[in-house]
């Protein structure tokens, strides 16, 4: 039983407000990713869970116990740092053993626990080495070993994969998912990499500018982004956002009217400026009546990302098959998949105005 709860947490450094009114409920055994651009407050949140920073106001509890005034060593948490923070003068074995030693565990039990952790992470042959004799991936595993050796209630991971090369990162990603499944412990994972968040987390807390923007499953965050920020932050390339006006059952952009189904959006939708969002995979080239010109074609081998320009200069992206022949400068007619349209209020974190129903989730290949 190790729920993690942040209740109305606020953090201020001098006059700078790092976090504002943060409410997060993490269920026991969940793998939650704190995702956002740098400076969004995700690391501060994690450090407050660890007890390395203290909230200016609000309440943090772990396993039902309020830990605001509990020292990091007594919170029953373990943390893996981006820099791994291995003790350089200790061997791998001593590094893993250290937290047990500081908790007064008996030597024989310590030895057994270290061996168990080492076995789980395939570190046995490295136990007598010093950290600087290890590769980045091995150091990463030692840091994990030091975290899991004492069987904490909650694991806190601060961008643990960002110092690894791309290949090792995807390998370690799989390892971490596997580890989480095996241990069944609550894990809180800070990252700015949406791919890590989408693939590993059971729920993602998207943060921006010191505020929680959305806290939901990866699929929900992708398919039903709560606001414009989440829509643009999740997904590569990110969602196209076109500014325009709602006029009856059409959306007017670049002098053209795009038909929209009013019943899919909230009733109070008045007139005025709105933002229409559509993901690149739902932009069809040659299938609609919106004239555009191809500005750039980026072929990644299995797909093409096409930059299109509307008559008023607005640019948007489309995703198509790699096999399709498209030329730069070519004039095309484009259209949007009618079920894949999102409507947002115009400000930067403008609220999404769709009625949330299952129908708004469209399988990607149904285009």
């Amino acid at each position: 039983m190790a729920d993690v709860t942040l209740r109305n947490v606020r953090k201020q450094f001098g006059t700078f407000v790092a976090l504002e009114k943060l409410d997060i409920d993490i269920r026991s055994g969940e793998f939650v990713a704190l995702l956002g651009p740098s400076g969004c407050g995700k690391s501060t949140t994690l450090r407050m869970l660890a007890g390395l920073e203290f909230p200016t106001s609000g309440e943090i509890s772990i396993g039902g116990r309020v830990v605001n005034d509990v020292a990091p060593g007594k919170r029953d948490i373990a943390m893996v740092f981006q820099s791994y923070a291995l003790y350089p003068h200790m061997t791998v074995g001593e590094n893993i053993e250290y937290p047990l030693k500081k908790r007064g565990v008996k030597a024989t039990e310590r030895k057994a626990a270290v061996l168990r952790a080492a076995e789980m992470l395939q570190l046995e042959p490295l136990l007598d080495r010093k950290p600087k004799q290890l590769s980045g991936g091995q150091q990463q595993r030692v840091a994990l070993g030091r975290a899991l050796v004492r069987d904490p209630q909650v694991f806190l991971l601060d961008e643990p994969l960002s110092n690894l090369d791309a290949k090792l990162r995807s390998y370690m990603r799989a390892e971490l998912i596997e580890l989480h499944r095996r241990l069944g412990k609550t894990m809180v994972y800070v990252t700015h990499d949406q791919l890590e968040a989408m693939t590993m987390a059971s729920r993602i807390a998207v943060m921006f500018d010191g505020r929680l923007q959305q806290f939901d499953t990866p699929a929900a965050v992708y398919n039903r982004p709560a606001n414009r920020f989440v829509a643009s932050f999740i997904g590569t390339p990110s969602m196209n956002q076109l500014e325009g006006a709602v006029d009856g059952s059409t959306f007017r952009v670049a002098g053209h009217a795009i038909p929209i189904d009013r019943s899919r959006f909230v009733h109070a939708l008045g007139s005025g400026t709105f933002v229409l969002g559509v993901r690149p995979e739902f932009v069809t080239i040659g299938g609609g009546d919106l004239p555009a010109r191809i500005r750039l074609v980026e072929n990644t081998g299995h797909e093409q990302i096409v930059t299109l320009e509307l008559t008023d200069g607005t640019r948007l992206l489309a995703r198509t098959d790699a096999a399709r022949r498209l030329d730069v400068g070519q004039s095309v007619q484009i259209g949007f998949h009618p079920d894949a349209l999102h409507l947002f209020a115009p400000e930067e974190t403008g609220r999404r105005l769709n009625k949330d129903d299952a129908a708004s989730v469209i399988p990607m290949r149904s285009r």
């Binding site: 943390m79 923070a85 003790y87 250290y98």
Partner: protein, 299 residues
């Protein structure tokens, strides 16, 4: 392939010639001010020489026989070791302590960091004059203060009797040179990653454990170098002791440097002084070899 084989060496030879040319001035100056005096000292040490005229006779190993059989050299060696060990220990303890204090986020930190260097930058003559005034048995502030506090009943003769004179010299030496330790240790402290302390806190280490498990291992290398360097410098310290006690009472604070000076310019026996200085150099060679091996290993 053959073109590169013939061309590259020629260019390399040109670079090598330039290199020799560039280090030549240094080698020349080094030879004049270090190598020549060293050889001259060894040369002088086998003569009996009257200092004012620099005239004398070849006496072979006589000066060295006197060094080994007489008690002056061994007495001074003992004094030098007591002084070096005493003052160095205090320098390290206070230096590391002060560095740890100044590494904390305290409000007067930047001011304190400049002030702590004051003794190190102060001219030895000035510093010693102030300390002699503090130590004075008739009107010194030290005795006055200690008596006011009730620690002393009677004024103490600080620099004129033993072991007070040695304690006084060691204290002034520690005061004068601990800032060097502070600077070196503080510089190292600032490079210890904060994450290590955070990891240790999460691992359950308290402040004392964090000092021994994180700080000390990181300071070990820099402390070894500091100790060796300061040991070499303290071992040959002259002006501070000479000005403070002149080696007295009698010879109880007469270190090897003072002995050499006394022999050469007090007793006008330059040959014997040269022999003592060669003996002193051999002792210091031990420290120097350790230092060179240590720093060589790091690079």
């Amino acid at each position: 392939m053959s073109a590169t084989a013939t061309n590259t060496p020629r260019l390399e030879r040109a670079y090598a010639r330039l290199g020799v040319l560039l280090i030549a001035p240094t080698i020349l100056v080094f030879s004049l001010v270090i190598v020549y005096p060293l050889l001259a000292a060894i040369y002088l040490s086998v003569f009996s020489i009257y200092t004012p005229t620099l005239q004398g006779n070849f006496v072979g190993a006589d000066n060295y026989v006197k060094l080994l059989t007489g008690h002056e050299f061994w007495n001074s060696l003992g004094v030098t070791l007591v002084w070096t060990f005493g003052t160095l220990t205090l320098q390290i303890v206070f230096g590391v302590g002060m560095a740890l204090l100044l590494h904390q986020n305290i409000w007067f930190r930047s001011l304190a960091r400049s002030l702590v260097l004051f003794p190190y930058f102060l001219s030895t003559v000035v510093a010693v004059l102030v300390w002699r005034w503090l130590f004075n048995d008739l009107y010194g502030a030290m005795n006055h203060g200690l008596m006011q506090l009730g620690i002393l009943d009677m004024p103490l003769d600080w620099l004129g009797s033993m072991p007070n004179a040695m304690i006084g010299v060691i204290l002034v030496g520690a005061w004068k040179y601990f800032p060097f330790v502070v600077i070196a240790v503080l510089a190292r402290l600032q490079t210890i990653p904060e994450h290590l302390y955070e990891a240790a806190r999460i691992d359950g280490a308290g402040p004392v454990a964090r000092f021994w498990d994180v700080t000390m291992p990181q300071l070990r290398n820099v402390l070894t170098v500091i100790i060796l360097l300061r040991a070499i410098w303290d071992f040959k310290e002259f002006d501070l002791i000479y000005l403070l006690t002149g080696g007295g009472p009698v010879t109880s604070t007469q270190t090897l440097s003072l002995l050499v000076y006394q022999e050469a310019f007090g007793l006008n026996r330059m040959g014997q002084a040269a022999a003592y200085s060669v003996g002193m150099m051999l002792v210091m060679l031990v420290f120097m070899v350790l230092y060179i091996r240590r720093t060589g290993k790091e690079s």
